[in-house]
Amino acid sequence: MDFIVSKFNYWIYIIMMMIGFYAMIAKRNLVKKIIGMNIFQTAIILFYVSIGAKKGATIPILEAAHHAKIPPESIEVAKYINPLPHVLMLTAIVVGVSVTGVALALIILIYRRYHTVEEDEILRQLS
C-alpha cells in the first residue's frame, strides 16, 4: 500500500498512458484516436513534471538581488525544484499541439472526402 501511495504520481501517469494507448489502438473513430493520443502525451508531461518536483521546495529563483554575488556552495539545491524537466516539457507541449493540429487537419480532409470519421467505413470505401 505504501508503495502505491508514496509514488502515486507515477501510478497516475502509467494508468493515464495506458488509457490513452488503448484509445489510440482500439477505438475505430478517428477523433477518439486523437483524444487518446492527447491523453498519452499529457501522461508523459505529468511524468516529466513530477520528476522535477521536490517536497517542500520552491520555484528555482534565487532570493538575493540580481547582481549580488552568491557563492555557489551556499545555494541549497534541495530547496529548489529542478526546472529542467519543466522546460523540456514546454517544447514537448508545442510538439504535441502541432501533432494534434496536423491530425485534426487530416481528419477534416478525410471527412470532406469520405463523409465519415469511422475507420471501418473509410476502409470499406477505399477497397
Partner: protein, 505 residues
C-alpha cells in the same frame, strides 16, 4: 566559415524554409529554385564538415558556446559525417529530379508550402544525424515526422488514411523515445550523449536503465519501420507523391537506423547492449524474420511502389542484423548497408518517379518492353536491382558480403542461410520485372496495340526518355551505387572502421 559548417548545414535550410512561402506568394515558380539553391549550399557545408572530420578528427560544435553537459552540442564523428553527406547528396539529387513530377502531381497553389516542408524535412534529418543531445534528437525526430505527415497527405487517393495511421504510430514511437529520455534523465541527470555514456556504466544493473533501453528500441524501431513495427510504412510509401516517396525511402529510415547505431553503441556501450541484457539475440530473431517477411511480401505485390516499400522493410532487417551480430564484420556490414541501400532504393524510386511521370505506369505487369522506350532509365533500374540482389561489383554485394562474413565469424549458420535465401527472393522479384522490361515486347497503352504475341515482329517504338532533369540524377545515383561498391574499402577505412568498439574481434 569552415568552423561553422556543421551549423550551416541546418541553418541554411531552416532559414530558407521560412522564406520560401513568402517569395512563393510573389512568384510560385521561385519556390523551387530557392529551395534548390539552399539544398546545394547545405550540401557544400556537409561536404566541408566531412572533409574536416576526415582530416582533423571528430568535431564538437557547441551551440551558443555553452559547454556540453548543459548546452546542446553537435558531435560529428566518422560515422555521422558519412551519413550526413549521404543524406544531403541524395536529397539534393531528389530535389533536382522531382521538379517535373511535383509540378504534375501537386496543385500549383501548394508549391511554395510543399517546398518549404520539403526543406524542413531534410533539415530535421540532418539535425538528427548531427546532434549530440538526446532531447534535441527528440525535437528533430518530431520535426521530421510532422513534415512527413504533411507531405505524405499531399499524395493520391488513400494518402490521407496512410498519413493518419502514420500520425498515430509515429506519435507512439516518438512518445516512447521521449519516455526513454526521461528515464535516463532520472537515473543520470544528463541529456548529453557523451556525458550519458560516461555516467551509465556504473548503474547498468538498474531496472530504470533496462526500461529506458526497451523504450528506445521500440520507439526508434517504429520510426525506422523495423518488423513487426512496420505497419505504417507500405501505405505511406505507396500513396505519397512520387517525389516524397523518393525522398523518404532512402533517407528517413536510414537516419533512424543511424540513430539505432548511435544509441546502442554510444549512449549505451556494447557491453550493456549485448551482454547485460540479451538484446542482440532478440534483435537477431526480429531482423531474420523481418528480412524474410519483407522479401516474401514484396513478391506478392503488383504495385511497384508497394513492392519497393516491402523490400525496404527487408533491407532495414539487414541493417539491424548487422548491429545484432555484435562483431566487427557485422557492424561494418550493417553500416555499409545504410549507404548501399540508400543509393539503391533512391535510384529505384527515382526510376519509378520517371516512369510514372512519362507513362503513368505503376502496375508491374505494364513494364513490358519498357527498355525500348526508356533505355537509360531502365539500365539504371537494372543496376539498382542488381545492387539489391547483391551482384558484384555493386554496393549491395559488398555490404551483404560483410554481413555474411559476420555471421560466419559469429558461427550463426542459420543467419547465413537467411541472408542467402533472402538474396534469392530478391532475385525472384527483381528479375521478374527485368524479364518484363527486356524480354517481352512493348505494349502501347495509348493505342492499345499489342506487340506481345510474337517476338520476331516487334513494333517500332520511339525512344521517349525521361526529361534530362530526371535522367541525370538517376544516372548519378546509379554511378553512386557503383562508387560505393568499388570504393567500399576506402569508405570503411576512412569512416566506418571507427564505429567498431575497442577490443571487439
Amino acid at each position: 566559415m569552415m568552423q561553422q559548417a556543421p551549423a550551416l548545414t541546418i541553418a541554411i535550410l531552416l532559414l530558407t524554409a521560412f522564406w520560401v512561402p513568402i517569395f512563393g506568394m510573389v512568384k510560385r515558380e521561385s519556390a523551387y529554385y530557392i529551395s534548390l539553391t539552399a539544398m546545394f549550399f547545405s550540401f557544400l557545408a556537409a561536404c566541408a564538415t566531412l572533409y574536416a572530420v576526415v582530416t582533423t578528427g571528430p568535431i564538437h560544435y557547441r551551440m551558443g558556446g555553452w559547454p556540453p553537459p548543459w548546452g546542446i552540442e553537435f558531435v560529428i564523428d566518422y560515422l555521422n559525417a558519412g551519413v550526413l553527406v549521404l543524406i544531403s547528396l541524395i536529397s539534393l539529387l531528389t530535389t533536382v529530379s522531382a521538379k517535373k513530377s511535383v509540378e504534375r502531381e501537386i496543385h500549383r497553389s501548394k508549391w511554395p508550402l510543399f517546398w518549404s516542408l520539403y526543406l524542413l524535412l531534410v533539415m530535421s534529418l540532418m539535425g538528427m544525424t548531427e546532434t549530440g543531445d538526446m532531447f534535441n534528437m527528440y525535437v528533430y525526430l518530431e520535426v521530421s515526422s510532422l513534415t512527413a505527415y504533411g507531405l505524405i497527405a499531399m499524395g493520391e487517393k488513400g494518402a490521407l488514411m496512410a498519413s493518419f495511421n502514420y500520425v498515430i504510430l509515429g506519435s507512439v514511437g516518438a512518445s516512447f523515445y521521449l519516455l526513454g529520455v526521461g528515464y535516463l534523465y532520472i537515473a543520470t541527470g544528463s541529456l548529453n550523449m557523451a556525458d550519458l555514456s560516461k555516467i551509465l556504466p556504473s548503474i547498468y544493473r538498474s531496472k530504470v536503465i533496462f526500461t529506458a533501453f526497451a523504450f528506445f528500441i521500440v520507439g526508434i524501431g517504429l520510426k525506422m519501420g523495423l518488423f513487426p513495427l512496420h505497419m505504417w510504412l507500405p501505405d505511406a510509401y505507396t500513396h505519397a507523391p512520387s517525389a516524397i516517396s523518393t525522398l523518404i525511402a532512402p533517407t528517413m529510415t536510414k537516419v533512424s537506423a543511424y540513430v539505432f547505431f548511435r544509441i546502442i553503441l554510444t549512449v549505451f556501450n556494447p557491453h550493456f547492449s549485448w551482454e547485460v541484457i540479451p538484446a542482440a539475440t532478440l534483435l537477431r530473431w526480429i531482423a531474420a524474420v523481418g528480412i524474410i517477411y519483407g522479401s516474401i511480401m514484396a513478391i506478392a505485390q503488383k504495385d511497384i511502389k508497394r513492392m519497393l516499400a516491402y523490400s525496404s522493410i527487408s533491407q532495414i532487417g539487414y541493417i539491424v542484423l548487422g548491429i545484432a551480430l555484435a562483431n566487427r564484420m557485422g557492424l561494418i556490414g550493417g553500416a555499409l548497408h545504410i549507404f548501399s541501400h540508400a543509393f539503391a532504393k533512391g535510384s529505384l524510386f527515382m526510376v519509378v518517379m520517371a516512369v510514372i511521370y512519362k507513362t503513368g505506369i505503376r502496375n508491374i505487369d505494364d513494364f513490358k518492353g519498357l527498355n525500348r522506350k526508356m533505355p537509360f532509365t531502365m539500365a539504371a533500374f537494372c543496376l539498382a536491382a542488381f545492387s539489391m540482389v547483391g551482384v558484384p561489383p555493386t554496393a549491395g554485394f559488398f555490404s551483404k558480403w560483410y554481413l555474411v562474413l559476420g555471421t560466419v565469424a559469429g558461427k550463426y549458420w542459420w543467419l547465413t542461410a537467411v541472408i542467402l535465401a533472402s538474396s534469392l527472393l530478391n532475385a525472384v522479384y527483381f528479375f521478374r520485372i527485368i524479364e518484363k522490361i527486356y524480354f517481352s515486347s512493348f505494349v502501347d497503352l495509348v493505342t492499345g496495340g499489342s506487340g506481345g504475341h510474337e517476338h520476331h515482329e516487334l513494333p517500332a517504338v520511339a525512344v521517349a526518355e525521361a526529361p534530362l532533369m530526371m535522367l541525370v540524377p538517376i544516372l548519378l545515383m546509379a554511378a553512386g551505387i557503383l562508387a560505393v561498391g568499388l570504393f567500399n574499402t576506402q569508405i570503411i577505412h576512412h569512416l566506418l572502421q571507427f564505429i567498431v568498439p575497442k577490443g571487439l574481434a
